[in-house]
Symmetry: C3
Subunit: 273 residues, 3 copies
Amino acid sequence: MLGKCITNVRNNVPLVHNITNYVTVNDVANVLLACGGSPIMSDEPDDVEDITTICGGLNINIGTLNKSSIEGMFLAGKKANELGHVVLLDPVGAGASALRTNTAVKLMDEIKFDVIRGNISEIKTLALGSGTTKGVDADVADAVTEESLDSAVAFVKELAAKTGSIIAITGAIDLVADSERCFVIRNGRPEMGKITGTGCQLSGMMTGFLVANPDNKLEAAAAAVCTMGLAGEIGWSRMQEGDGNSTYRNRIIDAIFNMDEETLDNGAKFEIK
Amino acid sequence: MLGKCITNVRNNVPLVHNITNYVTVNDVANVLLACGGSPIMSDEPDDVEDITTICGGLNINIGTLNKSSIEGMFLAGKKANELGHVVLLDPVGAGASALRTNTAVKLMDEIKFDVIRGNISEIKTLALGSGTTKGVDADVADAVTEESLDSAVAFVKELAAKTGSIIAITGAIDLVADSERCFVIRNGRPEMGKITGTGCQLSGMMTGFLVANPDNKLEAAAAAVCTMGLAGEIGWSRMQEGDGNSTYRNRIIDAIFNMDEETLDNGAKFEIK
Amino acid sequence: MLGKCITNVRNNVPLVHNITNYVTVNDVANVLLACGGSPIMSDEPDDVEDITTICGGLNINIGTLNKSSIEGMFLAGKKANELGHVVLLDPVGAGASALRTNTAVKLMDEIKFDVIRGNISEIKTLALGSGTTKGVDADVADAVTEESLDSAVAFVKELAAKTGSIIAITGAIDLVADSERCFVIRNGRPEMGKITGTGCQLSGMMTGFLVANPDNKLEAAAAAVCTMGLAGEIGWSRMQEGDGNSTYRNRIIDAIFNMDEETLDNGAKFEIK
């Protein structure tokens, strides 16, 4: 089921406009190419409307926001909404600063997002208007675990209903939900947390998956999460003695480059709740 | 003939000032180091004149332009012209937005470029004052092919004559021309299009090649194109089962690091028209 | 002795706020993760005070400074000082432009730095209020050599006394000193100079080392230098035929990822003068 989604990406070659942080931007571009999409980056307010117009989707990531790029986010998001494009929000560090929290909340007020993807802490911040974030990782105490799964699933469906967006919370267990159905995904490796930007990469890729699968956006979002997690497993299986997080980063992107429908269907580990 | 150009880079260690996009900037720096040059990056208007003064060449890439960096491009370009430094323009995304097209055209009006390097779509935009770009890759319909080669060669020579710049169009077949001679280059691999920034990397490296070969700028530009394409071939030959675009990126830069005069002379595939 | 410092980093997981250049920022983040820390990047003046408040240390790197990020550096630095956080200055390109020199000097006037880390040319610029820098590498003529070692040690201790900061000068021989003691470190490989950003990476990692070793800051700074140099040696020993500077970059970060107390204690090559 989910495997078909990546085939559609490879056939459709979705062009994705990314307003994303400068820390992980190169990896975001290479992951989009790896999965079959095509990236373009632009954050200048005078440039973003033209750029987003020629794209199929827009990925807004607030990881290294500044006054100018924030203005670009609003302009691009509104234009993309006008054109009916896919729009995704990655609220990096929401909860860690007032500017980040307020920007994410205001973006949600003024722009309609197809997906909001973050860690549990960031998503809770957006949901509750409060919360704390340690860097860009979820606090352990707030992690989605087998014990907290049912309440987390309820939370994510409720937020999806409230916002009208697909909500994707990534961590040891990933949740991807609309108001009715929640994909509970158990792909991935804990070592992925030792690489900067796997979340940012996922957001870029997920935008491409939605563009290429317009009639199955929830499945597309879940397929992107499974692709990233499975690539983390495949990449880890190829690690040699002496390899570390830098090589692991390369191997994950390589595994996405080589991912096909059959591999994804066989490797995806999910249930629907 | 062309091999000598890289030896000159290794002996001269040209310092290149790059005003370049934040997507591929790290690779641009590492490619410049790989070929024997030395990179420095600066886009702040209050900084660029001092920085370009201590360099031998200036590489202007408009890939993630903003109001401030655009101002930096004009200031740096004029200062580099004043000092007789090599100046290169990489008009990333010209044709994709009004800001990019207008900035590139205005840069060409106010600054004398030794080389303008882009894909066919970007170069046509600059030539015709119109055109469309899909992301940062050439539209297939506009590709330089064996069938369209003669007209493309005529076009590039004409543009070189009109602008007084060397024009380099890269794609499946690369063209590097002044008004009299056009190098038609057939190095490279189609898989290079699955890595972000091989064009940006080439622009940085090409600037270094021109600085180190001031009396043979056309040959130097062609040698840089052959070096990148040949590195793409060598890098591809070293790919292992399971490798993908991220590892390929590393292998290409590695191949440039190991490129020597003999390898380049033996591997360069070009004719002069 | 120094090995214990990295164990403390792995146990403490220091969160480090980086205001750093966009050229090498991804590697800085991955190196911080490799050594056991956690990175967060923010340069927007309206964001930096909140972000630095939740961190343990602040790494200020002026490599691609702009008017906005300079304002961010002062705001973050003052807030970090107020909170008693570790603050490090990496004066990239001081001496290469008036803006860089003046910004570094003004930062030193208004902010108390625990460490100032740069190459000999940058540090001399800060010490003397003059000097020249070729790109971001030390001029060979100004290198710390066995012949010039005694005078360099005296210089660095004097500057440490004058500024109240630990001074770290990295090059073929590395010096890390306070006013009393100077670690003279002979780890590393000359090929590390063919990778962009090993200095930036070291600055990020060193900040984390100081946060996790608050009672032994001089040892922590020296341990970070030994870790980077030793990783350069280990990474080089793993190079294969055909590998170059891009693969070497990955192998160095990998070696930091795998560095443990025993390896560091056995491999660290230093004397105290």
